[in-house]
């Protein structure tokens, strides 16, 4: 509960402060939030399959809306990601020269609250409310502080994801109507319902489209590269680092358990889309010239692999998927941070107008390299363990698909090293050194990310252990 309320208080306070005070307030609140998260983790029972810290309050019990929240292992990983990432995002905005920085930061805090809510909710309608609530701040962040064409692109993004989530709402209402008189949206009631095969299939598709748009999975992705490139850096980080995980999380928590009674052929179609997306996006990423777009396309490719792994419905796949959600969140925030650091100095995102930056910023080059290697999934960085488990599960599921998804490790090396080459190496594009030193907040943000990349790469079990039991129980529900 506190996780939800605290950022809102923070947001309100931040809104009333000006400039520096606002920055400090927001930062303090995100740190406190982290501590609370850490406290919860220390109280968390790793060996228990039950939903922990469970609480349920009546809200509109006439329509089955309860304020039911709880944390299982999967949600725990997600809120750790959310709170670390929010802290990093707020920290990364320290040097932003936005107008109305107070409202910018308070929107981020509201965002943090609703994202936490999405992962904590154990009531379908509550989940939906938080899901939509998260859309509003990001809409304003992108719409007000974004780049060129922001209105048009944000509007498209909004409509796109909104339509997707409408399908989800319909699916929830449908289950609610068919819940045999137990008028509730509670998760625990939902999973015990026995729906017919046809019903399940329709629900499955409705959920899938809602979640696929958010992630996004090919071919529901066309809003993503535009939105990522036009949004301000912090907006992009929120979108890619945390928000897209809502979709994947939704698949694990809601789609698979609720629509379990369906033909696996549907899941196979989803997997084909996911794997097609891996290759499709990776190939496109090779030739992009805008650094943020390369990262955006790489994200589609990586997320496709996560989805494919989870859809194998194997322990390895889901565990790998959860681990990789965390890793992807951290890595992509690092990558966008690096892009932002470059853009702040050169005022361009075009790779053609960079080059030779390693000469001026050795520390930055080093940190950027570590984050990049995490994304390329070199062993002992976080990306490797996740990708290893995911590819292993897809390969066990189907040899051909495993090999096709495996191409990602080649393509990823191609486009990521190209970015690094064009940005950091080679002759300097600018005659004189206009690349000033990194500020402390930039160093700290990237430094923390680089540390997380290495630590979770060496000790992935730290995260895998948290979600281990919960994945087992999810799998028993699905079976």
């Amino acid at each position: 509960m506190i996780l939800l309320i605290l950022p809102v208080i923070g947001a309100i306070l931040t809104y009333f402060f000006k400039e520096k005070t606002a920055r400090i307030t927001a930062l303090i609140f995100s740190i406190v939030q982290l501590f609370i998260n850490g406290y919860l983790l220390s109280q968390f029972d790793f060996a228990s399959a039950a939903i922990q810290f469970y609480s349920s309050y009546k809200w509109f019990d006439e329509i089955g809306l309860y304020f039911t929240t709880g944390i299982d292992g999967i949600a725990m990983v997600m809120i750790i990601l959310t709170n670390i990432a929010s802290f990093l995002i707020i920290l990364s905005s320290w040097d932003n020269n936005h107008k109305n920085i107070n409202s910018f930061l308070s929107l981020i805090l509201i965002m943090q609250s609703s994202l936490n809510g999405v992962f904590l909710a154990y009531n379908g309608l509550l989940f939906y409310i938080f899901w939509e609530l998260a859309l509003i701040p990001i809409y304003f962040i992108t719409g007000m502080w974004g780049g060129e064409n922001r209105i048009k692109i944000t509007f498209k993004f909004f409509i796109y994801t909104f339509l997707g989530s409408l399908l989800m709402l319909l699916a929830f209402i449908y289950i609610y109507i068919n819940s045999n008189g137990i008028n509730t949206f509670e998760w625990e009631n939902f999973i015990n319902l026995e729906l017919s095969k046809n019903e399940s299939t329709i629900l499955l598709w409705a959920f899938f489209i809602a979640f696929a748009v958010k992630m996004p999975i090919f071919p529901f992705h066309t809003w993503q590269p535009d939105t990522y490139s036009v949004a301000p850096a912090q907006g992009t980080m929120l979108l890619s680092g945390i928000m897209l995980k809502m979709g994947i999380f939704g698949m694990i928590r809601w789609m698979l358990p609720l629509a379990k009674n369906t033909c696996s052929c549907n899941l196979n179609i989803f997997m084909i889309l996911a794997i097609a997306g891996i290759i499709y996006a990776a190939i496109i990423a090779i030739m992009q010239n805008d650094i943020k777009r390369v990262i955006a396309w790489s994200s589609i490719s990586h997320v496709g692999l996560i989805a494919a792994g989870i859809l194998t419905l194997s322990k390895n796949g889901i565990q790998g998927g959860i681990l990789q959600m965390f890793n992807h969140g951290i890595n992509i925030i690092g990558l966008f941070m690096a892009a932002e650091i470059i853009e702040r100095r050169l005022n361009t995102r075009s790779l053609k107008e960079m080059g030779g930056l390693a000469l001026y910023a050795k520390g930055f080059a080093f940190l950027f390299m570590i984050v990049l290697l995490g994304s390329v999934a070199v062993p002992l960085t976080n990306g490797f363990t996740g990708e290893f488990l995911l590819l292993n599960s897809v390969f066990n599921y189907s040899t051909i698909w495993g090999v096709l998804s495996g191409l990602t490790i080649i393509f990823c090396a191609v486009y990521m090293l190209r970015v690094y080459q064009l940005a950091m190496f080679g002759e300097s594009y600018h005659k004189e050194n206009i690349f000033s030193k990194l500020s402390w907040s930039e160093y700290v943000t990237l430094g923390i990310i680089a540390c997380i990349v290495i630590v979770t790469g060496v000790f992935p079990n730290l995260l895998l252990n948290i979600s281990d039991i919960s994945v087992n129980s999810i799998l028993t529900i699905i079976e």
Partner: protein, 627 residues
């Protein structure tokens, strides 16, 4: 004994951290000495481990912690020191130490001195992880790690865009092989449920032969990438963009032999395969010949040595293919000595020439670079297989194993390759060190022998290159084959009969005769009256093919690189923007079109609203009745 394993492995990592952090404030010499001494410490520890194993001690295991644990995948972060890994450890740290010392002199005026040593230490660490990992996943970690260090070091002089391209090419081509390795690991999980060596190699469970074949083929694909065999070998010549000590350590002595180590390590799986073993042999054979032919027409001193490395690796794969795993390891060892020597020698030459690498503009360097000259000559003699030097014994053993293990065809092709090797090596030697100096005046003044930090490693390596053959004397000289008796607990050689005495004598006699002829011819052609114009003038189509490296790069560019770039453009600008996004936007347009029409309904006229309301209520009531 357990304590020595982490010491061996992690001392270089300590060196990496020291030289990485100390780059700013430590003086260069101290930095170089610190970083080299960590490798020396690692070498001493591996000697101690060697003594332990040699005296019949048990295999040493070290399990640090459980690395990945999810579902049925459980991977320990564990290492082992058995005969094979101890052997590799000694090569890596021994040669690595000499090359570190050499680098102190070679890199002394480079601004990236600290960075260079930290990368070099990191590489040694990764390479040690590769050879000591006690399961295939840890091995893969080292495998990718050395690829990364190779990338960093090839692109070390990052201001040059071509170097950066070469580095990326190396990394990506390695990654293609790595995918094969990864698939092999997945197959192991499927069939054995684990990747620990001790379970796989001792497992009596019935894993089907086809599965083993597949696993071995996939491992071999990994080896093709890392050890630069056809079709993934074109990165290695380009990798010469890196500083010369890097070429010596990574691209000659250690990293590129990782593929040989992998197959020798899995010898128990390979020994029963037919397709995989044949693939190993024939690809090795083809690579040996093609690379040697290409080396004939190259003019860059390092490129010649690079193609020579590719060719020698091909020899090793032939040995692996016929089932003579220890023979391959023997050649790995001697090759590490003489090829590191040759590369370091070429580095000394380039150092003296102020960066010039084209041998057409050298000549007569023997007068100024006395030590380099002698050591380089010894290296040349060793690689060309002059009897009693190290290269002779290991090559001779490969030839005889090929003869007795496979047949006359493979044998004679390898023998011809040896002849070609001798030709390009002596061409290289004579053009560089004999005849008249053909460079500019400025270069002529600049000529000087390298400092002691560079010449001492040269001398040590040349001694090793000469006497390294003792490790595996052929049956003619001794019955105690040191390497094969040391490694036989780990690598399982196929039984191949020992060569007869006549065979041995014939080989020695023929090789002396042929070498004498080649040396004479090369001396005449490339030393006495050489002019680069001559060579360019009579270019026939064959030599054109050779000097263009069989057009491998162009063909790859045509088949793979450009199509993928084109598809990328096409997918983005045509399919994605024009097709998928159009559909999305079209549905958007449809909605706004619809809403424009719908808006007319809200005309503000009250009667319409009333009508709509009544209709609504009526239909609602009807609906309720029906339900």
């Amino acid at each position: 004994m357990e304590i020595y394993i982490p010491l061996v492995i992690f001392l270089p990592l300590v060196g990496f951290i020291i030289s990485g952090l100390g780059a700013r404030f430590l003086p260069k010499n101290i930095l170089g000495i610190l970083s080299s001494s960590t490798i020396l410490g690692s070498f001493v520890c591996s000697l101690l481990l060697f003594r332990h194993i040699y005296n019949g001690g048990n295999v040493v295991y070290l399990n640090m912690f459980n690395w990945i644990n999810a579902g049925n995948v459980s991977i320990d972060f564990s290492f082992l020191a058995d005969n094979l890994s101890v052997w590799m450890m000694m090569i890596i740290t021994g040669v690595g130490f000499l090359i570190h010392i050499y680098s102190i002199g070679y890199m002394h005026s480079d601004i990236g001195f600290g960075k260079f040593f930290s990368y070099l230490n990191l590489f040694v660490f990764m390479m040690l992880v590769l050879v000591t990992g006690s399961n295939y996943v840890i091995m893969f970690f080292g495998w990718e790690g050395v690829g990364l260090c190779s990338y960093l070091l090839i692109g070390f002089w990052y201001k040059n865009t071509n170097y950066g391209y070469a580095a990326r090419k190396a990394f990506v081509m390695n990654r293609i092989g790595d995918l094969g390795f990864l698939i092999a690991i997945f197959l192991l999980f499927n069939n054995f449920g684990t990747t620990e060596f001790k379970y796989i190699f001792s497992s009596n469970q019935s894993v089907s032969k086809t599965a083993i074949e597949f696993i071995c083929i996939m491992f071999f694909i990994g080896a093709i990438g890392k050890s630069a065999q056809i079709p993934l070998f074109t990165w290695l010549p380009d990798a010469m963009a890196g500083p010369t000590p890097v070429s010596a350590l990574i691209h000659a002595a250690t990293m590129v032999t990782a593929g040989i180590y992998l197959i020798a390590r899995s010898s128990i799986l390979y020994i029963d395969t037919t397709i995989a073993a044949n693939a190993v042999m024939y690809i090795g054979l083809a690579t040996a010949i093609i690379a040697a032919l290409t080396a004939l027409k190259q003019n860059d001193i390092k490129k010649i040595l690079a193609y020579s490395t590719v060719s020698q690796l091909g020899y090793m794969f032939v040995a692996l293919g016929v089932g003579a795993y220890t023979t391959a390891m023997f050649h790995v060892t001697t090759h590490a000595f003489f090829k590191a020597l040759l590369f370091l020698g070429s580095g000394s030459v380039i150092h003296a020439m102020g960066g010039q690498q084209d041998i057409r503009f050298m000549g007569g360097l023997s007068k100024k670079l006395k030590i380099t000259n002698i050591t380089f000559l010894l290296g040349t003699l060793a690689i060309t297989g002059v009897p009693l030097l190290s290269g002779f014994f290991s090559k001779d053993e490969i030839l005889s194993k090929a003869f007795y293990g496979n047949g006359i065809l493979v044998f004679s092709l390898l023998a011809i390759t040896s002849v070609i090797t001798a030709i390009y090596m002596f061409r290289l030697y004579f053009l560089t060190f004999k005849g008249n100096f053909r460079g500019t005046e400025e270069e002529k003044h600049h000529l000087h022998e390298s400092p002691a930090t560079m010449t001492i490693p040269l001398i040590v390596l040349s001694v090793l290159a000469c006497v390294g053959g003792i490790l595996g004397l052929s049956s003619l000289f001794s019955h105690n084959h040191f390497i094969s008796s040391f490694l036989k607990n780990v690598t399982y050689d196929k039984h191949i009969p020992h060569p007869s005495i006549t065979f041995e004598f014939t080989i020695i006699a023929v090789s002396i005769a042929v070498l004498a002829v080649i040396i004479y011819l090369c001396y005449n052609k490339f030393s006495k009256n050489y002019s680069s114009n001559n060579e360019d003038a009579n270019q026939n189509s064959l030599s054109k093919l050779l000097s263009n490296k069989f057009y491998f790069d162009e063909i790859y560019d045509f088949i793979f690189v450009r199509p993928i770039l084109n598809i990328s453009e096409l997918l983005y600008s045509f399919i994605d923007r024009n097709f998928i996004d159009r559909i999305v936007n079209f549905s958007g347009t449809l909605v706004s079109f619809g809403s424009n029409n719908l808006r007319k309904i809200q005309s503000g006229k009250l009667e319409y609203y009333l009508l709509a309301m009544v209709l609504g209520i009526v239909s609602f009531l009807i609906l309720i009745q029906i339900v």
